[in-house]
């Protein structure tokens, strides 16, 4: 499902260049739950961004569902992010002006779903995460755990087969963190592919497989 072969990523800042990934090869099967771990600066987030089609590799081949990602346009990548991949960020990244309902509805709007389908789906998701009664609240009116659950609902809006979670519990207390991990585990059991970046061993214990990065390379 996700195949990375010899992925390199070089960031250029003026005359300086920084090689964040130095040739990463990785294969993630459908329905797998993997954790990507490593110290700061090891390239975890860069790898996650490339898998999430938020960034493109400088070198190497990335095949997602038999499609070569390198050949996709900006808008085709946006469509992939909209339908195939759900993102959960450490700092939630909810739109501050939008209500919980509107935040969850946004990917459906971008996908052109009609009002009836949007209403059904947002209602279903908000009820599933237990925040239906909070639907008119803005992110600033919600706790960290509630915000992350809204972010999770948003990530699931278009029912994507892949969920990418970048330190999903990093900004949460342990109880909220556990709740989020329970939801992620549940989603994996339903058949979704989960790729999670963390440097917390307790969190990574939820996954099936751990991929360790160091200095831009996958440790054997």
């Amino acid at each position: 499902m996700i195949e990375l072969e010899g992925i390199k990523k070089v960031f250029r800042m003026g005359s300086q260049s920084l090689e964040a990934l130095k040739g990463v090869s990785l294969k993630i099967e459908r329905g797998e739950f993997i954790s990507i771990m490593g110290p700061s600066g090891s390239g975890k987030s860069t790898l996650m961004n490339i898998i999430g089609c938020l960034d493109t590799p400088t070198e190497g081949e990335y095949v997602l569902d038999s499609d070569r990602v390198a050949g996709l346009s900006f808008d085709q990548l946006a469509a992939v992010r909209n339908r195939k991949i759900g993102f959960v960020f450490q700092n939630f990244n909810l739109l501050p002006y939008a209500t919980a309902w509107e935040n969850v509805e946004l990917p459906l709007l971008f996908d052109g779903k009609n009002a009836r389908k949007r209403k059904e789906r947002v209602t279903e998701l908000l009820k599933a995460i237990g925040l239906y009664d909070w639907r008119e609240h803005r992110p600033s009116e919600l706790s960290g755990g509630q915000q992350q659950r809204i972010a999770l609902a948003r990530a699931l809006a278009n029912d994507p087969p892949i969920l990418l979670a970048d330190e999903p519990t990093g900004n949460l207390d342990s109880r909220s963190g556990e709740e989020i991990m329970d939801i992620l585990t549940e989603l994996w059991k339903e058949g979704r592919t989960i790729v999670m970046v963390t440097h917390n061993d307790r969190i990574s214990a939820h996954s099936q497989r751990i991929v360790r990065l160091f200095d831009g390379l996958v440790l054997p």
């Binding site: 808008d75 339908r83 739109l95 939008a98 509107e102 990917p107 709007l109 971008f110 009609n114």
Partner: protein, 416 residues
């Protein structure tokens, strides 16, 4: 475009409207300033035309003079006088003239209801009203052809005469005595701006049918001939033909500028109108430059908005917003702001113009207020303004929107 997206954009815009208040205010202020500028420009220009036409429109006035050149053995210094027969003489020979009417006047004591004033009394015909903007107030009329044919003892009076003799009473149907002969008032002149005159403003004059005037006035000659050419472009030709024809009749040199008094108001008004046209163009240029400055201001502010919303753009891109969605949102927001600012600017300008127009103008003073206090709100100018500003604002919004759409999702997400 998905129809639900604009509604979502509108919702977002409403929540952020306080942040957009500065741009909205800039557009409101710009709209108000430019619409007022143009309204005052157009009002002044129109008032000038109105005040000039207070004397009459496309009018040439001929008066007798004195020969200043010897001609065919005749000495200079001879007085040249005009007579009633000259009207028919000129009408037959100048087909380019639409109307030719006589006018005679004299100063007499005029009394009514125990009040007495000394006023200029004129004898003329019905067509005089069309040439000299003699519009009666409600309930009255000017002299007609029958009045002249039947020698009716009727009078059309200026509003000052009405006020002096009758106070606040309606003079129509009442009697006035002119040079010991009773006349019935049939109409009062409607108030008007008049910046050019000969026997004083029309507000102070009394007009009688020419035939009735001749009964109380002993002189045979007439004081003035009013000629209206068929078109303003024929005014010079008509004036020249009058000199040649009357020169032939009364034996003076047509090139003698003192033999006749010729007041060509059409040529005079051209000069005045050119000045006001110049002012209008100048105001238009100022308005155009203001629009351009406004558009640059909107662009800058929209760039600032894009910068401030970098993270939001990143989030939207991360969850699947296509480039055109980002562009649409910024363009629509710019147009929402444009619509709001322009709408309130229009409302404010419209009301200010109409409030100013409520201030009464003293028609006799010819002061600057008669020109300044009559701004004109033109819907045509407003529509043109909206189209031009709309295009400029759209262009102001498109560049920041394009920049936003080209954002790198990762960099945008990291932006704090």
């Amino acid at each position: 475009m998905n129809l639900t997206l604009p509604r979502f954009f509108w919702n977002e815009f409403r929540k952020r409207r306080k942040k957009a208040a500065l741009i909205t205010f800039a557009l409101f202020w710009g709209t108000l300033s430019i619409l007022l500028l143009l309204a005052f420009g157009q009002g002044m220009s129109t008032q000038f035309r109105v005040s000039f036409s207070g004397l009459g429109e496309t009018l040439i006035m001929i008066t007798g003079g004195q020969a200043s050149l010897t001609f065919e053995g005749l000495p200079k210094g001879r007085p040249i006088r005009l007579y009633r027969e000259d009207i028919a003489y000129l009408r037959e020979r100048i087909p380019e003239a639409l109307r030719i009417v006589p006018e005679s006047y004299n100063n007499w004591q005029v009394s009514a209801g125990g009040k007495e004033v000394n006023r200029s009394v004129h004898g003329t015909t019905a067509e005089f009203a069309l040439m000299r903007t003699q519009v009666p107030q409600m309930g009255g009329r000017f002299i007609n052809a029958d009045d002249n044919a039947l020698g009716r003892k009727i009078a059309f009076i200026g509003w000052n005469v009405a006020k002096d003799l009758f106070g606040t009473e309606d003079p129509v149907g009442k009697e006035i005595v002119i040079n010991r002969v009773p006349f019935t008032v049939i109409g009062v002149l409607m108030k008007k701006l008049q910046d050019s005159m000969y026997q004083g403003p029309d507000a102070d004059q009394i007009y009688l049918p020419f035939s009735s005037f001749s009964m109380i006035d002993s002189q045979r000659e007439i004081d003035r001939i009013h000629i209206q050419p068929r078109g303003p472009e024929q005014s010079k030709l008509v004036a020249e033909r009058v000199r040649v024809l009357l020169g032939r009749k009364y034996r003076f040199d047509a090139a003698d500028r003192y033999a006749l008094g010729v007041w060509n108001t059409i040529e005079d008004s051209k000069e005045g109108l050119a000045i006001f046209k110049g002012i209008e163009i100048f105001l238009g240029i100022i308005g155009g430059l203001t629009l351009l400055i406004g558009a640059v201001g909107v662009t800058n502010l929209m760039y600032a908005v894009v910068k401030e919303r970098t993270k939001e753009i990143g989030i939207k891109l991360a969850i699947g917003a296509r480039r055109r969605i980002i562009i649409q949102q910024f363009i629509l927001e710019t147009m929402f702001i444009f619509a709001k600012g322009t709408f309130w600017g229009f409302i404010a300008a419209f009301n200010i113009v109409h409030l100013i127009r409520l201030i009464p103008v003293n028609y006799e003073s010819f002061g600057i207020e008669a020109y300044l206090l009559r701004p004109i709100f033109s819907l045509r100018i407003f529509v043109a303004y909206v189209i031009i500003l709309g295009v400029l604002v759209f262009l102001s919004g498109i560049f920041p929107a394009l920049r936003a759409s080209r954002s790198n999702p990762i960099e945008s997400l990291r932006y704090e």
